[in-house]
Symmetry: C2
DNA sequence: GTAATTTCTTACCGTGCGGTACAGAATGGC
DNA sequence: GCCATTCTGTACCGCACGGTAAGAAATTAC
């Protein structure tokens, strides 16, 4: 590998791209989100992205690499609330924002129903096994980040010292993933909010934040 | 349709079946459970069922009809705890048995990880749209049964009169479906039990059952 | 035995899949 | 102009899919 310069735009010779890769990724996200990994065929993708098949291959690699890039795009876009929520001051505020942000995203009119991380992971055929593992690892990663945040909350006195960060984080993860399934079944935003209220009743906290 | 006798075994002429349809259904359940609807090919199925393809077609109809029969088989077998749990005397006992029964099933060594109703419903391609709807309807049916049971609990004074049966049933459904996703991600039985303990802390009840 | 009936075996059909070869079109360098 | 370089469009490849036609094999009825 050569050392790359600061932002070297190395005189792009040759025929220029006729599409915006960022927009194309957006449209690919929409397809994968709606249909899952296996359910999205290359024809679906190229049609939505308004790109020919060899262009897709040249720009993004094969289908699986495109999917991974879409996952990054998803984490930075529609799912960005899940990382942003960790910065709330108290654990209760973190969890509250996490759950409400998820419920809003799951039932936003412009988005497909459900969560890409959950939709894509299940019911994939064997050939997509690495994709399944990737999604599992991303879900576990989010859960681990929350667990770390809850540990900090204990140190800060925000959660009681005998609280179990691992179980609590897993509990929240289950709520999120369950809401995703419910949203795919047609649950409305207010219904999800009703569930969040119940789920938060058992949240341990020293303050009534 | 002619009126059928009590157990008429109407002298089966012709070549007899060389397999047990019940066992074959068992093996088909295993395949669908592990791989989902779309992920299970006819070759996977016939290989596991030890049946030739035309035999499958003659006995069970096409792939979708076989899947529906497998769903019934699943409801009567591995998932039978979910209907049995409704007969517990108190709402708390119902929910407790429901959740623990699910956790046990999800992490039973002999079973595939996860829940057939959840695994199969998501990430299916368009062609299997009717299958997706069938699974959604079965999940909503289970939720409705629990809701009715909780309404009865209010009448019986087992739940406070201001409890919301619809939200509570949905809350439990979310826990179940979330556990299914977690089990597919590798969660262990004791981890799931830890979550159940947290989830039940917010359960309203007049007795400490 | 022979006919009738039902199941089993093999081999195949059309379709859509993910991925690619190849030639033509659009740019920069000179 | 004219080359090198890069992208686009079409048409194709091998493969696995769900589903089926046709005849051989196994049983009962008589």
């Amino acid at each position: 590998m050569k050392s790359k310069g600061h932002k070297e735009l190395p005189k792009p010779t040759g025929r220029p791209l006729s599409f915006d890769p960022h927009k194309a990724l957006d449209r690919a996200l929409d397809v994968f989100w709606r249909k899952g990994y296996d359910g999205s065929s290359l024809s679906d993708l190229t049609k939505a992205m308004r790109i020919n098949r060899p262009s897709l291959y040249a720009t993004f690699g094969d289908k699986e690499k495109l999917f991974r890039k879409v996952l990054d795009h998803y984490a930075e876009g529609p799912a960005s609330h899940s990382t942003a929520a960790l910065q709330e001051p108290t654990s209760r505020a973190v969890v509250k924002r996490l759950l409400h942000g998820t419920a809003d995203m799951l039932t936003s009119g412009g988005n497909p129903r459900g969560c890409l991380w959950v939709q894509g992971a299940l019911a994939c055929r064997n050939s997509a096994d690495s994709v399944r593992k990737e999604l599992i690892s991303r879900r576990l990663g989010g859960e681990a980040a929350l667990r770390q945040r809850l540990k900090r909350a204990i140190v800060e006195g925000d959660l009681p010292p005998d609280a179990n960060p691992a179980s609590l984080a897993r509990y929240i993860a289950i709520i999120i993933q369950g809401m995703s399934v419910q949203a795919a079944s047609g649950a409305t935003r207010s219904q999800l909010r009703g569930i969040i209220d119940i789920a938060l009743e058992s949240w341990p906290s020293r303050r009534n934040t």
